[in-house]
Symmetry: C4
Subunit: 367 residues, 4 copies
Amino acid sequence: GIFSKVINHLNRAGASIVSIDFPSGLYADKSSKGNEIIEADHTLTFQERKLAFLMAENERFAGKVVVLDIGLSRDFHEKENSKLELVDESIVASIFQPRKEFSNKGDYGYACLMAGSYGMMGAAILSARACLRSGVGKLTCYTCKEGYAIMQTAVPEAMCKISGTTFIKDVRNLKDFSAVGIGPGIGQHPSHRELLKKIFAEFDKPLVIDADGLNTLSKYPSLYGSIPANSIITPHPKEFERLFGKSSDDFGRMELAMQKAKALHIYIVLKGHHTFIATPEGKGYFNNTGNSGMATAGSGDVLTGILTSLLAQKYSSLHSCIIGVYLHGLAGDIAAMTVSKEAMIAGDIISHLGEAFLSFERISSTR
Amino acid sequence: GIFSKVINHLNRAGASIVSIDFPSGLYADKSSKGNEIIEADHTLTFQERKLAFLMAENERFAGKVVVLDIGLSRDFHEKENSKLELVDESIVASIFQPRKEFSNKGDYGYACLMAGSYGMMGAAILSARACLRSGVGKLTCYTCKEGYAIMQTAVPEAMCKISGTTFIKDVRNLKDFSAVGIGPGIGQHPSHRELLKKIFAEFDKPLVIDADGLNTLSKYPSLYGSIPANSIITPHPKEFERLFGKSSDDFGRMELAMQKAKALHIYIVLKGHHTFIATPEGKGYFNNTGNSGMATAGSGDVLTGILTSLLAQKYSSLHSCIIGVYLHGLAGDIAAMTVSKEAMIAGDIISHLGEAFLSFERISSTR
Amino acid sequence: GIFSKVINHLNRAGASIVSIDFPSGLYADKSSKGNEIIEADHTLTFQERKLAFLMAENERFAGKVVVLDIGLSRDFHEKENSKLELVDESIVASIFQPRKEFSNKGDYGYACLMAGSYGMMGAAILSARACLRSGVGKLTCYTCKEGYAIMQTAVPEAMCKISGTTFIKDVRNLKDFSAVGIGPGIGQHPSHRELLKKIFAEFDKPLVIDADGLNTLSKYPSLYGSIPANSIITPHPKEFERLFGKSSDDFGRMELAMQKAKALHIYIVLKGHHTFIATPEGKGYFNNTGNSGMATAGSGDVLTGILTSLLAQKYSSLHSCIIGVYLHGLAGDIAAMTVSKEAMIAGDIISHLGEAFLSFERISSTR
Amino acid sequence: GIFSKVINHLNRAGASIVSIDFPSGLYADKSSKGNEIIEADHTLTFQERKLAFLMAENERFAGKVVVLDIGLSRDFHEKENSKLELVDESIVASIFQPRKEFSNKGDYGYACLMAGSYGMMGAAILSARACLRSGVGKLTCYTCKEGYAIMQTAVPEAMCKISGTTFIKDVRNLKDFSAVGIGPGIGQHPSHRELLKKIFAEFDKPLVIDADGLNTLSKYPSLYGSIPANSIITPHPKEFERLFGKSSDDFGRMELAMQKAKALHIYIVLKGHHTFIATPEGKGYFNNTGNSGMATAGSGDVLTGILTSLLAQKYSSLHSCIIGVYLHGLAGDIAAMTVSKEAMIAGDIISHLGEAFLSFERISSTR
């Protein structure tokens, strides 16, 4: 009653609002929908970024969030066995595997991307370039005839296999590959149902499924059960909804993702500002890199390329997700400093993967 | 009589001339055609750049213009309700909207460019690249079959729709788009009359019309009245003349632009050194960025891409014009410092949009 | 007798030789063929670079040449009315025209390049890019059908006209253009005789003719007389020989070039380390920029693009030659510092035209 | 017995191990397979890198190897007439030939690369770009029809000859070329047997043979004897095995390479971390540049381009191998500092060839 009125009054006062620890009215770990909540310009919170601040629905309440270190014991945090974790540099450094000096390209795997269709070849170019720039030894792209010359000119380091004229019809000899990614720009065609079925049946390692791969999948829920174990799917919120239905709020969607990851034994990378990784073991990871400049066409295709590359290099699905999403965001953050958030295009993320990896090398060499 | 002779004598004396405030014989706010006027090498003028100095026809009289701050009250200037304004950094900073952290590509709109034809695909490439580098979430290019592979290779971040073999024949489902730009490199074909008609009828938001879009339009004045309200047209002086007829001088053309903007309820961006924006509300804005290196093929196509991108991001037509023209010129100014005015090509303007946006971010974060 | 023996002995001694002013046995201004000449590692010469040091045939005698300023009056040099001149920065600065602020692309001309054929489209790409990066307002490339998509993808700023399938068959409406360059990569085909004839008859301004344009020309000497006055031809020594026959030595070739330039009223740019410009007025200019890294495929195509661009901007043929050759070499010198002489490719010269023009701007603004 | 147990115990202790001079149990100059060997994290060795440390099979025993200079007489090393040598900067500097000032592109040779097939055109692009960026005067690429537009767009500095639709069918007029490289991305087709036969018969100078060129060759051992003398083949370990059979260990493979180089009178470049060059004179050279980031698709194609370029410039086969392999690795090392080992793609090696050559120029100018 009275609190609600005070909050309402403050929000309308037009003054700049700074919340300490939490904006009044906002719940820390569940949706605050329906509450009357302070709309702060800045929130100074203590020790660590709370769950509520990672949810898009709360952006207008929390404003810019600054985390103040108040000296709480780090042990306490580490002992707490939370099922949710915020990925930071030290986690990434503990996973990252530097290359061995005497290695050859065979040691870094052979990736396959099925991507592109008539008018949407850019998705194939972007995912292929990102895959190559994430350490894979060798890459073949399956695409359609109308994409052949485009791919070979734009991504000379990738080999090309062709099936179909304006969209991918078929694929073969999947067992040659260490990892397979499917989806960027493939369009939606009835024959893709059979294509997915075949891939699910023939490829016995984890897949990366994105974009139109997910859109096709969402039309045939009977296929869900045959997705190879430990596969990674990378839906944005709308694709997630098509796959698994509506959620009442961001917290609900997070819970649904964790539930589905467990049920289907897959990794779900729910893309957004703090991209969320739901694992079949019942854990969830929020990413802490990236920025709004990455809200641009092709940004997701780049992530698909990165994840497929990491899987091919024998990172586990969990490690691929954690490193891949972090790397993608870090490269985007470096790009934003160079070309601005507004001018950033997806290709810029790829261009800065090198600097992101250099920072991985630095971190892991000082551990 | 005697003044005229003195002026004539001075101009022929071969000495270097510096005018104080104004070259003798030059009117401040109307055309000075027919006058005997001092041809200064430099003009030191007081407090602000006068209208006469923004007109191409006066370049040889004013020479290099330097504005001296003589401490006149800034209030005075701001209270004056002039219908003409010189756009500066503070105006741009007040309009520019930084991106929200939790946003996704849907928040930045879905643009459509109709551009390119056989032999003129570069215009499509340049406008598409500029559009993507100006913050839009997603872009589709309509072009002709002979431009398909070219576009997909050169601009992978843009999707492609095809209609017609050597030029664009038709477009569909315009309502999917947040903003539509038409004109760069489309050529002039009789069927374009019907194309424009259809677009004007089906698209109910403001359009950006440029180049051959305007050339076709100028052949069918009966279409003028059906241009969607608040559309932006971007003629250079010759295209302006084809559309609205000759003017006696630069001042006359400025007045004509303001009159036509009002009558047709559109924004007219009259391109030139100080590009002039005439608004349907009867105001005029002169731009204050840009340089002669931008007098190069494709420079206008870049502007079309930028304006379409800004409209798609829900900037108003007025704000799109002010920011877009300023940004275009600023990127060109940064390019000139890097590659020189002579060597500058239109693609260089695009390459430096990032730095221009970074300066926007800096300005708006310190306000 | 005895001198010859001494020289011979010294050359075989294996010691390092430094010549003062001139290696013994070398003539300053005529060929020294047949002489017994000191083969110096270094030559320290006085006040200025002598003619002999500009000739390839003398490289092994002079070694590295260093010019020592011994304080001779500069006036003396300037009063001397030599028909031969070494182009330096001050000559270039006196010719270079900075762009006018209120100019538009029409002020910088409309160039046409006829270039490329099946398998040799790179020559067209390189000359077109160089032309655009040298200040022209607008450019159209005539090429063959097999080069269409290549050109539009690689050089979006240039428009394309097509005639013929694997080589250029015909051209039209030449009068639209301010300047025309012909030759890079066009191949040699019988029908090119008629093509040259038509161009010579229809285009009444100076042409730039290079490469296979010259090779075709050399087969039909009857066409020499109809080359438009003040045209520029740019043969390397072998092409020069095909056109005008053998010379006994480098001095003889220089004289022959000056004689032919006068007789045909054309400018002959004889390419080499110190490229030589022979003018119809009977003067000769040696260039003083450039390096051996430019001895690479496509380097000449770049020069053709630059010269055509300058002609289109209304530089005279003489000024186009002097500035163009200097600029080409200067950009190559900057490239050599960045990518080395060995790794330099023709595209690198184009990439550094901007820096070369920036140095022109600096020089001319301090005059 | 007891040593073996101690070693085994130490290896399992989990502590960090530093070996002095040599890890216990490791032989200096023969394979240690079957031995119980200390698995050091670091080895501090004296005066120079021993043979054992250059073999991949010993990486896990030696760990990071650091060479300590203990002041042994350099003379001693130079007098020792070893058949094996580690290539360093001073060897390269003594071979490298700076360009002559008055040279023209004819002085740097005319190379030919036969490369590319349907879906593998990237190999042709990469080898062609590397060839051009290694100093050759002129380059023609033989490829198939499906690769034509791709090559001309991506590598404008190279000319193109076409034979066959999806793979190279035939070649002609080989005598026009100063050097010929064959193999990158050509695929394996029955008709290639005849192609190789023809090339071996018609081209009388050394060839560079790589990749699918070697794979085809390995199917027809009867052709081995007709490889032109002093040709260079560049197998990776698997291709080497296909050609010459299995070896028991890395030392055995080295010996086999030296034996085959002698028997066939060819140079064998056995690619790996310390690439090994076996010569027909019975000597072997280990390279000392390069890193694990170069274990990526297309890295070998780049080397083929470099070697063909150097042969065309009249470096001997031995010198081409020594300089080419060193240069390739050095460019890769510079790339690793800029873009990281993980993000490195083959094109990055090419991009940094210029800096590698600049360091050659520096070294050779201070000698």
